[in-house]
């Protein structure tokens, strides 16, 4: 498969990349290329210009300051999977993306800019309450993950804006986990659930749960959270709370060649329960 023709420029800085993309009517940003290049090959994307961010060193790496972990947009999933600084739910999910070769190339920024509903990272970032930092012609801003993902393959990024880094609170006394059922060839999620919890006085505190892969965009599981908040964490309470995920998934459950909507609904409570149990075990 051959992409349609395009011009190519390798940006040396974020400022140059912003200038190049915002001054061009049909430019695309290239990070690791593991979402964009398949789209180019299928000619779903036909840009006239590719602006390659791949050599901008300032966009790479994970650092931790004062309780916040900052992940550069060009950081690969392999780096995230091996990180001890990231919350467990992120490193665990990163290690389940694609396969080793894909994780060596795929990046955090490229992944979330693509906003594939079957991707794992949007689910994790919503569960963690991540802030997505972007830079554009009008300057910089931070977008909460809840507001970043708008719809199927659609984000709240403005034209010419570039993701520079993602920030999440460092994990201290919380436990977190990611559980998914996936397509065995691509390893994209059919359903993934991310959970983070702290336990205080024997009951569940600071619970955050999100689900993705089965809805047009990843969602926060408010009903699951409400059912478990303040409760002791045991099999009975977890199973009861996990069942509430049906209300969080709502009416827009995806059905496709990999799994019907009915199948996704039928496994949701079990997958949520596994994620909650694993997160609770790590919080103790």
């Amino acid at each position: 498969m051959y992409p349609s023709k395009f011009d190519y420029v390798r940006a040396q800085s974020v400022e140059e990349a912003v200038e190049r993309t915002s001054s061009h009517s049909n430019a695309k940003l290239l990070a690791g290329g593991h979402s964009l290049i398949p789209a180019l090959k299928l000619r779903l994307a036909q840009p006239d210009l590719l602006v390659d961010l791949g050599r901008i060193a300032a966009l790479k790496g994970i650092s931790r300051h004062n309780g916040t972990v900052s992940v550069g947009a060009l950081t690969t999933h392999a780096t995230c999977a091996a990180s001890d600084d990231l919350p467990k739910v992120w490193s665990e999910a990163a290690g389940l993306i694609g396969d080793p070769q894909v994780r060596n190339r795929g990046t955090v920024g490229g992944n979330i800019a693509h906003a594939d509903p079957a991707s794992d990272l949007p689910t994790v970032l919503i569960a963690l309450g991540a802030q997505i930092h972007v830079q554009g012609t009008a300057g910089s801003r931070a977008i909460p993950a809840d507001e970043f993902f708008v719809d199927l393959f659609t984000t709240s990024l403005e034209e010419g804006e570039i993701i520079t880094r993602v920030e999440v609170p460092a994990e201290s006394n919380q436990g977190s986990a990611y559980t998914k059922v996936f397509n065995p060839a691509s390893r994209y999620a059919i359903l993934g659930v991310a959970a983070q919890v702290a336990i205080a006085g024997g009951v569940c505190r600071q619970l955050r749960v999100a689900a993705g892969g089965s809805t047009p965009k990843a969602i926060r599981a408010h009903h699951v959270e409400a059912a478990l908040q303040g409760q002791p964490l045991n099999d009975t309470t977890i199973q009861h709370a996990a069942a509430a995920i049906a209300e969080d998934l709502g009416e827009e459950v995806i059905g496709d060649m990999y799994a019907s909507a009915a199948y996704r609904r039928s496994i949701a409570a079990q997958i949520a329960a596994r994620a909650l149990s694993a997160a609770a075990a790590r919080a103790r």
Binding site: M1, Y2, P3, S4, K5, F6, D7, Y8, R10, L30, G33, H34, I37, P38, L40, K41, L50, D52, G54, A78, G98, D99, P100, Q101, V102, N104, R105, A185, S186, R187
Partner: protein
């Protein structure tokens, strides 16, 4: 056209390429190194796996221009006078049937063992998730990787 310089299997090449040229097509058609195979062309099967700056990658999902300035190893560059231990193990354990997935399988497996010399069978199976064998000859492939890890 864009000029790129790469070192492939220890030899330096400078070539003018179209920005849309895929790295696997650059390796096969421009450099005539046809040991690296193309199968699914959708980054699922792993037949096109090579080492790019020391990492296993699927060369059907990298543009040649992205590899400018990089060091590559393909299946042709793995042997050093004699077969690489992973190649010898695939030979000894009959880790292939039709052989189409073999170059990618060996390149991915060589990196797995290099990064984890004490690799377990479960880790081998998990680590080769990105490589598909259409003959379903996985049993002997796993045995080969286990042999190479001990070599």
């Amino acid at each position: 056209m864009t000029a790129i310089n790469v070192v492939v299997n220890g030899k330096s090449y400078t070539r003018e390429v179209e920005p849309r040229l895929l790295l696997v097509d650059f390796i096969r058609d421009t450099l005539s190194l046809t040991g690296t195979n193309i199968a699914c062309d959708t980054s699922q099967c792993g037949a096109c796996t090579i080492h790019l700056d020391g990492q296993a990658v699927k060369s059907c999902t990298v543009l040649a221009v992205q590899a400018d300035g990089s060091t590559l190893t393909t299946i042709e560059g793995l042997a050093n006078g004699k077969l690489h231990p992973m190649q010898q193990a695939f030979w000894d354990q009959h880790g292939l049937q039709c052989g189409y997935c073999t170059p990618g399988m060996i390149m991915a497996a060589a990196k797995l063992v290099e990064e984890n010399p004490e690799i377990t069978e479960a880790e081998i199976r998990h680590g080769l998730e990105g490589n598909l064998c259409r003959c379903t000859g996985y049993q002997n492939i796993v045995a080969a990787v286990a042999q190479a890890a001990k070599a």
